[in-house]
Symmetry: C2
Subunit: 142 residues, 2 copies
Amino acid sequence: MESCVPPGFRFHPTEEELVGYYLKRKISSLKIDLDVIADIDLYKMEPWDIQGIYTISHTEWYFFSHKDRKYPTGTRTNRATAAGFWKATGRDKAVLSKNKIIGMRKTLVFYGGRAPNGRKSDWIIHEYRLQTFQNATPQVPN
Amino acid sequence: MESCVPPGFRFHPTEEELVGYYLKRKISSLKIDLDVIADIDLYKMEPWDIQGIYTISHTEWYFFSHKDRKYPTGTRTNRATAAGFWKATGRDKAVLSKNKIIGMRKTLVFYGGRAPNGRKSDWIIHEYRLQTFQNATPQVPN
């Protein structure tokens, strides 16, 4: 997998690289130089199962996952797994590139059980999304 | 320089990689995949000058340097620069690969001024040397 990476190099991406290169190309179905970020279905897995799919042990893992809608027609996100749920904490944070916002980061904490009685765990996810401003300036019909 | 390294990869070598790949190949004049470790003359530079030769700002730098002998015929090392000197601290530590010693690490601290009146600084070097056991088992003449 790391055939092109010389000895001593590790995957320690900046947020700008994660969003501006990896996520952007993934969403655009463009080729990614090296297949370092796995596709998983986050809400079909428990956090302790995720490390099992990585051959090298780390304390951090990177992956792509689709958002799961709570209801087919709605925009609310279903963040429950079989054993618990991911809950957003704090404010979303902007990811910048050359002083422009290219994405947002949401931090989620895993709770065992079901809301509102979940047991907070030490598992944390930083969820990055691309920020596009294509529809940010609505046209005024004339 | 990093043309072959995909986005998000950083040079964070293990000691085994530093000694077993980079230092070993350097000493053997073998090709190194990517020219990430600069050649410098450590004792012709002050520590604060070293960062100037690196284009990207870090808190760690990797370089190759020849040892400078104190006297042409001796084995003592001259570790003085114009403004101070590097002084060993603690014990040398073994660098292992597959449970075998492949090298040793010496830690040196920079002192301003001249021994024994140097002023200790926060600059630290880890000096790696290859450990070869070619002459470790002397033949008993018969």
